[in-house]
């Protein structure tokens, strides 16, 4: 089984967490009870049907929500937005009043990077997500895939050890999505960041995750927790997808996701 918190301090520790939206008759239990410990450097993918509480779990880890019961720890501390984790949302959420470079610049400023260093860092960050010569563009002048790349570059600006991504590629076309998946794997591999990635796509989960966690339908609990032992280096994306182990994992996880979603 995955990490043992006694041996290594977990990057993320979710302990007996339950989350309820609203009160009284309107109360909706969105998540839990759920416990999850994320080892530093791992790439955890949360898979589940829509509405099962994936975003809720991610928002709890990001510090946007406080759990109704239980505890969430990031790097041993209670999470606060903007401290300890970069976040990428389903929509790029770029600031349209800033240029592409301006968006990254703002993130660097919030991260406390002094002004003279920022221009160089902007180019470096955009380059890392495969973008060149777009810093001066307006955010609506680049494609949806490029916008999401900028959002990733912006989330990397803080140099946090943890990266949280909530279905970041769901709105993109298949081709662009595969490209971004490959590039994200490379970026996170190079930088050794811990990732918690939410998706409803089984293929995406198997391709990206070093560990895949399947959630039940609402309120989301763990239905399956699986380490993915696919060769990560020296194998191109197409070769990886063609491996028999890849197909086997897809089948297992796909079945579990369908079962976990119940009769929906």
């Amino acid at each position: 089984m995955p990490s043992n918190p006694d041996v290594v301090l977990a990057a993320v520790d979710v302990h007996e967490v339950e989350h309820v939206y609203g009160t009284g008759r309107d109360a909706v239990t969105a998540l839990g009870p759920i416990s999850l410990s994320v080892r530093p450097g791992s790439f955890v993918v949360l898979v589940g049907a829509s509405g099962c509480g994936k975003s809720t779990l991610l928002r709890l880890i990001a510090g946007f929500e406080r759990p109704t019961s239980g505890a969430v720890r990031v790097g041993g501390r209670e999470p606060v937005p903007g401290a300890g984790a970069g976040v990428v949302f389903q929509q790029p959420r770029l600031f349209p009043w800033k240029t592409v470079g301006g968006n990254v610049d703002l993130a660097l400023r919030y991260a406390g990077v002094p002004k003279p260093e920022r221009p160089g860092r902007i180019g470096e960050l955009l380059g890392r997500v495969g973008l060149h010569d777009v810093a001066g563009r307006r955010t609506w002048q680049i494609s949806g895939g490029q916008q999401q790349r900028v959002a990733i570059a912006r989330a990397l600006a803080g140099d946090d050890d943890l990266l949280l991504l909530d279905e970041p590629f769901a709105a993109l076309d298949a081709l662009t999505r595969e490209r971004l998946q490959e590039d994200l794997r490379q970026v996170t591999g190079e930088t050794g960041r811990t990732c918690v990635f939410v998706t409803h796509s089984v293929d995406e989960a198997v391709f990206l995750g070093s560990r895949v966690v399947v959630l039940t339908h609402r309120p989301g609990r763990i239905a399956l927790d699986l380490d993915v032992d696919l060769p990560r280096s020296g194998v191109g994306p197409d070769r990886l997808r063609a491996l028999p182990e890849y197909a086997a994992l897809r089948t297992v996880i796909g079945q579990e996701v369908r079962e976990a979603a119940g009769g929906r």
């Binding site: 990001a62 946007f64 970069g86 600031f95 009043w97 703002l106 991260a111």
Partner: protein
């Protein structure tokens, strides 16, 4: 809601000339819209000439030519008389524009601050909103009497009047835009480590800028239509004062000239504001 009110509130200052394109025309079609306006203007002059010829009463409908010669007379010194009432037309207009400028700037500045506070502090919004709406509903002439009693008949009450007229639209537009800041972008900024002040400066205010600008254009329009009211008392020099004096002496051609000067300068100022808007807010409608 702001839009409908903008329509009715701005029109009086813009319409006297005649042709006015429908609001909300995309920026790309601006040159064409100006052409349409000029065309409408030409048509109006033709109709006007026809009306002047058929009525044959210059005190009722002065001919375009009579108004043109008034333009020359009021812009020159003739028989030792300088322009109209001792001031050239441009001086009358300049004084009025200066009043409009000061009133709009003051009203915008105060409205902006008030709007941000109203949009961010709920209880202040609850307290001030009815007051602002109340003042907004009052015709400027209604409180002008009070301002005269308080501040006399010179420059002060006029500037107060224009400031009070310009303030509410900016405050209301700013407040609603600040209050309605998109949660998604605010969260994105917070996730990047923005403080509360950062969020207001880097997300809430830029996001509100298009609506604030609409409020400013409304405010300038209101200051414009209020300046004539402000100049009904001790208004010379001033274009409103000039029109009022001319009305007393049945100098209809001067009245029409004054109206044209007000309307045309109003069009120019609104066009300038639109240009500034497109320059300053390239992301308008993109978010």
């Amino acid at each position: 809601m702001i839009y409908t009110q903008s329509g009715t509130a701005v029109e009086p200052s813009v319409v006297p000339v005649g042709g006015s394109a429908p609001a909300g025309v995309p920026a790309k079609r601006r040159p064409r819209r100006i052409l349409v306006r000029l065309g409408a203007l030409a048509a109006l002059v033709a109709v006007w000439q026809l009306a002047a010829v058929t009525t044959r009463n210059p005190s009722f409908v002065p001919s375009p030519k009579a108004v043109w010669s008034q333009l020359i007379l009021t812009s020159t010194t003739h028989d030792g008389v300088r322009g109209y009432s001792g001031h050239y037309l441009v001086e009358h207009l300049g004084i009025s524009l200066r009043r409009i400028l000061i009133g709009s700037v003051l009203g915008t500045a105060v409205g902006l601050i008030l709007g941000v506070v109203m949009g961010t502090v709920p209880w202040i919004r609850v307290v001030t909103e009815p007051v602002v709406t109340f003042v907004r509903a009052l015709p400027p002439l209604a409180y002008f009497s009070l301002l005269i009693i308080w501040f006399g008949i010179d420059e002060t009450p006029k500037l107060w009047l224009l400031t009070i007229a310009a303030l509410p639209p900016v405050a209301v537009a700013t407040a609603s835009a600040v209050y309605g800041a998109p949660i998604g972008l605010v969260e994105a900024a917070r996730a990047l480590g923005a403080t509360r002040r950062d969020v207001i400066r880097d997300v809430v205010l830029p996001n509100a800028l298009p609506e604030i600008f609409t409020g400013v254009r409304l405010a300038v329009g209101l200051a414009y239509s209020s300046v004539v009211a402000a100049e009904t008392i001790n208004g010379v020099p001033g274009i409103g004062g000039m029109v009022r004096d001319a009305q007393r002496y049945l100098q209809t051609d001067v009245v029409v000239l004054g109206l044209l000067a007000i309307g045309l300068s109003g069009l120019l100022i609104d066009a300038a504001l639109r240009t500034a808007e497109n320059r300053l807010i390239p992301w308008r409608g993109r978010s």
